[in-house]
Amino acid sequence: MKTNIPKKNMTRRQLLQSATAISGIAVAGSGFIAAPNAAWALEVTEITEHQMATLVQIARDIYPHDKVGDEYYVVAVKGYDSGESKDMIAAGVAKLDELAQAARAPSYLETKWEDNRVALLKQVEDDAFFQTIRGGLVTGLYNQKAVWPIFGYEGESFSQGGYVDRGFNDINWL
């Protein structure tokens, strides 16, 4: 992992070019992580890049939706980059990495098959760490209005006059 990249005066593209890709998430060092496809980038201040990248992967492994991009999972977990959360996150990620190493992988993040990562999560699912992350995702992920259209959900309808003239009974396959 490269470590001496100055944060300032870097474009996102330069940042991404300098990054070391791990499990689909780029850890650039100096507090930045980003997606290889430049869909998102995030600066962390209280927790490490590795911890944040691991959190994003955990979020996706808990609630995997193949049609939902990583950027929505990032939004759901970025709040854990806080002084209040950092000890819990450090301990939770460290435990998962230990379990991964016991399973002969370098880390949780570098455990390549989802099924194998899920097997690691199963071992911690009663821990407060896991329950906090999972519980937070229920609103953190599914209450993002930007996510709703991916599932076809239309959200608010009052401002459009409801569905009385917009297909409340338009089912055509029965």
């Binding site: 049609k67 229920v138 209450n143 076809g152 309808s157 009052f158 569905y163 089912i171």
Partner: protein, 523 residues
């Protein structure tokens, strides 16, 4: 804010709570010229304030003051601090309710006689003849504008209903329609017709659904006889040396304690807060709490046998469009012990938005078994199952003195274990609900566990004999002549039907009784 009625005006009737029970009672009394002070723990929200957003609306309206839970019900594990999804606002849970307005079946007023004794259950007959209720049900239906009653037409069926109806008919069910709903199918009583917006649970922004918040409450206030005090959390009911209730103490928004004197006190805080208030009002004269000589205050908590069935199809349904609960199958609501349980259940259409579906489809679940269900959200249909559950003394609301609310008062602990009859009924209902959707080609079905309770009943129950209940046939406490219970906590048994219409009918009836007693000089 200046009060309309004086704090030391002991001639007023104080009503605690402004929902289906308290809101209706307050207006009915005010219309008869009785002076009423209604104390409401929440604030006032009207259609322009409601939001078409599940979590934002929950934050606006839900009662989220501390409560605790125990027992084997899954809610105690998944939502340990939220045993009920009810409302803290003027109009109470009538802002949130779905609008399903069903009369009890005759035999349900006499559950003990109809079903016989059930082991482990504490069944009792209501001390009310079903025929006494006919006119009150009609008055309630006219007040609420219930569809398919009087000359009111039914609502049109939405996509979710059309799937449900086709499956029901394929199974041979006969009593299938878009429900008797307190949601206008045409303009009625100065309220608009339903615009098929969805979000019935979040408060109807058109006012097409009846809610006390924008009907009974303002109409009562317009008489000059009703004063509603918002953000007034009642702490204690007080009494004199003769055991007569003399007033209530409440906290205002700033936490100042006031004493409002009263001629009569009517408690309508829903089935957790009403017994909690009686228990928190314990005194040297009534060490076990007010009106509790039977020991029944807080006991026999019922929440209806509930559950949901969601199903996924290979094509879109878009169940969230339109009225949330305008669809019913009533064929299973009969009492037919050959099914392996007493009492019956209704099947009613239901939808949740994506955010609540994620929270409630299978709380705590994760991984692809769960997420592939949500991936098919657009192709999903849903129904709610609601049936009669068994009263059990051990299902009860008690004070948890280890946990205090923001006013320093012990909170309610809600203990609930399913009765074997509840479990047998739920299993049957899941099977039938899944069959309804499989008959239309569902590729996957989900027997979804009960949500935090919306139908909270029985914790101050009505009985002929003062030894086994808290109130008499008028909702008047057996122990204290000028203390009444006016909400669903007075239910002797729960019946299969959504309770609001019955709560409203009982409130109209109780108003007649109280006014009559006052004019006779007996109150």
């Amino acid at each position: 804010m200046a009060e309309k009625f004086e704090m030391n005006d002991g001639s007023v009737v104080v009503v605690i709570g402004t929902g289906a029970g308290g809101g209706v009672l307050s207006n009915e009394l005010a219309q008869k010229g009785v002076k009423v002070v209604a104390l409401e723990a929440g604030g006032r929200y009207l259609p322009e304030d409601y939001v078409n957003d599940e979590w934002d609306s929950f934050g606006q309206l839900a009662w989220v003051d501390a409560r605790t839970t125990s027992g084997d019900w899954r809610v105690a594990k998944d939502f340990s601090g939220l045993p009920a999804w009810i409302v803290k606002a003027v109009g109470g849970t009538t802002t949130h309710w779905a609008g399903a307005s069903l009369r009890f079946q005759d035999h349900e007023w006499k559950a003990l006689s109809a079903y016989g004794a059930v082991e482990g259950a504490n069944l009792l007959d209501w001390p009310i003849d079903p025929r006494e209720m006919d006119d009150y049900y009609t008055k309630a239906e006219n007040k609420l504008g219930v569809t398919r009653t009087g000359d009111r037409a039914g609502l049109p069926g939405n996509n979710n209903y059309l799937v449900f109806e086709k499956g029901a008919k394929a199974l041979g069910y006969k009593e299938v329609h878009t429900g008797r709903m307190a949601i206008n199918s045409a303009d009625y009583d100065d309220r608009l017709a339903c615009q098929q917006t969805g979000f019935c649970f979040q408060g109807c922004k058109w006012g097409a659904k009846w809610s006390a918040a924008y009907t009974d409450i303002p109409r009562g206030e317009a008489t000059g006889n009703l004063e509603v005090r918002e953000n007034a959390h009642v702490a204690r009911i007080v009494h004199d040396d003769s055991g007569t209730v003399t007033g209530v103490e409440y906290f205002d928004k700033e936490g100042n304690l006031h004493l409002q004197k009263a001629r009569v006190v009517c408690v309508a805080g829903n089935s957790f807060e009403s017994p909690r208030l009686l228990l928190n009002s314990a005194s040297s004269m009534f060490p076990d709490g007010l009106a509790n000589s039977s020991g029944m205050v807080g006991k026999n908590y019922m929440r209806h046998m509930t559950g949901s069935v969601y199903a996924v199809f290979d094509k879109p349904v878009r169940m969230w469009r339109g009225t949330t609960m305008a669809g019913i199958i009533s064929d299973e609501s009969r009492h037919d012990p050959s099914r392996g349980f007493v009492g019956g259940y209704e099947m009613e259409t239901l939808s949740l938005g994506l955010p609540f579906m994620a929270a409630f489809l299978n709380p705590g679940a994760w991984g692809r078994g769960f997420t592939t269900a949500l991936d098919a959200y657009e192709n999903m249909a849903g129904m709610w199952l609601v049936g009669e559950d068994m009263p059990q003394e051990s299902n009860r609301v008690t004070l948890n003195t280890d946990v205090k609310d923001q006013w320093g008062l012990p909170v309610a602990n809600v203990h609930f274990d399913d009765h074997p009859n509840d479990i047998a009924m739920r299993e049957h209902a899941y099977r039938q609900g899944q069959a309804v959707y499989e008959a239309v080609g569902a590729t996957r079905t989900f027997p979804t566990p009960p949500y935090p309770s919306t139908h909270n009943l029985g914790t101050n129950r009505m009985s002929a004999d003062p030894k086994n209940g808290v109130v008499n046939k008028w909702g008047r406490t057996h122990d204290i002549g000028n203390l009444y219970i006016s909400d669903g906590s007075q239910f002797t048994t729960g019946a299969a039907e959504n309770p609001t219409l019955t709560i409203v009918a009982l409130a109209i009836r109780q108003a007649d009784h109280i006014a009559s007693e006052m004019s006779k000089g007996d109150l």
